[in-house]
């Protein structure tokens, strides 16, 4: 898998950097960063991406609202979405997946786990 384009939506610069650092294991990948849901929607209009990785708790627009809006948009509705969050309870997980996320990862993240989830999603193909 080469030349993948990721949109990382996370308000914490530390987590944004950590996720981007892990994603760089995919050769030739391009990473677009957004600080919240609104910023992410703006970036989606400007850039073509292959996958969205988003936090839930963010200012302005949270990750769940973002997932729901991405799924309603014809242009972006088939994009694979991975939620990465501190909310680890089963009900949070179910809520995220019910809204249309393809995978749910609880923090603290393990690089190897994140990469496996992403690879599996690309292997499976569009939802």
């Amino acid at each position: 898998m080469e030349g993948l384009r990721f949109l990382v939506v996370e308000d914490s610069p530390t987590m944004r950097q950590l996720i981007s650092f892990s994603l760089k294991r995919f050769k030739g990948c391009k990473i677009v960063e957004a600080v919240d849901g609104v910023d992410a929607l703006k970036k989606l209009q400007q850039e073509e991406v292959d996958m969205i990785l988003t936090d839930i708790n963010m200012p302005v627009m949270d990750g769940l609202k973002l997932v729901s809006l991405v799924r309603q948009n014809v242009k972006t509705r088939d994009l694979p979405i991975v939620i990465i969050t501190t909310e680890g309870a089963q009900e949070d997980r179910d809520r995220g997946l019910a809204l249309g996320a393809n995978a749910y990862i609880s923090k603290p993240i393990q690089s190897s786990h994140l990469l496996k989830v992403i690879t599996d999603l690309f292997d499976k193909g569009p939802k």
């Binding site: 950590l18 603290p108 393990q110």
Partner: protein, 280 residues
Amino acid sequence: MADDHSDIFRKSQEFLQMLSKQKDFIQDLLKENERLRFEVANLRQKGSGGETDSLLRQELELLKKRLEQIENEKREIAAAYQRVEDENKDFAQRYIEIEEQNNNLANLYVASYQLHSTLDFQEVVHIVLEIIINLIGAEVFCIMLLDEKTNELGVIAQEGHEGSPTFTNIRIGEGILGNVAKTGEPYYINQAGTGYQVDFLHPIAAIPLKIKENVIGVISIYKLLVQKDAFTAVDYELFSLLAAHAATAIFSSKLYSQSERRLTTIQGFLDLLTAPTGKS
């Protein structure tokens, strides 16, 4: 005359009898000959069968030896396979360990990069909070700094405590937190299965913020995120490395903000001294 005829007849009779006996004898001889030929043929056949047996026996011996060799080879291959399998397991285990180390290094790299990316004290404290939540996986915790004048630990930031909690200052050497500040040794208990309740004075982990041997503060953790059952061996390593980076970042930003304040004060004095008096 009659005597001569009878004599000839008798002699011919005798001759015929003799011929008949000879015939019988020859027939017996022929039978015997045939029997002997048969015996000879049998014996010859038996003689040649023995050679076959001996050849078969030799062949069998060779096959037994070959089978033994193959069995030995099979045992050697099985042993080699087992060795390779063990090595494979060992490599897989090492791969997992290296992945963990890699993950740790990535965490540490990002954490130190962020911690040293600013000299603003409040920003540094916020980054420390983020790191504790996102990289360590803590839900309820405090960051305390040591006041050198009073020798007391005071909370400068907290996360996850319900309501608006008030935290008392802790004298160095007092209780778990005071003792961590005094000795510079981290403190851990395992949250899982102890029925632990959040209590400011009794954390599940307390990590000294140290610059070399000088403790400048303590990070106390009271509760981990729901998906994290307990600390892992990797967490302890990460903790001590992060604590050292966090300590230097907090200390430098504090010094920087103090020097900034002093600079502003001095600048104010200088401006006052160099300002025109208004007299012409």
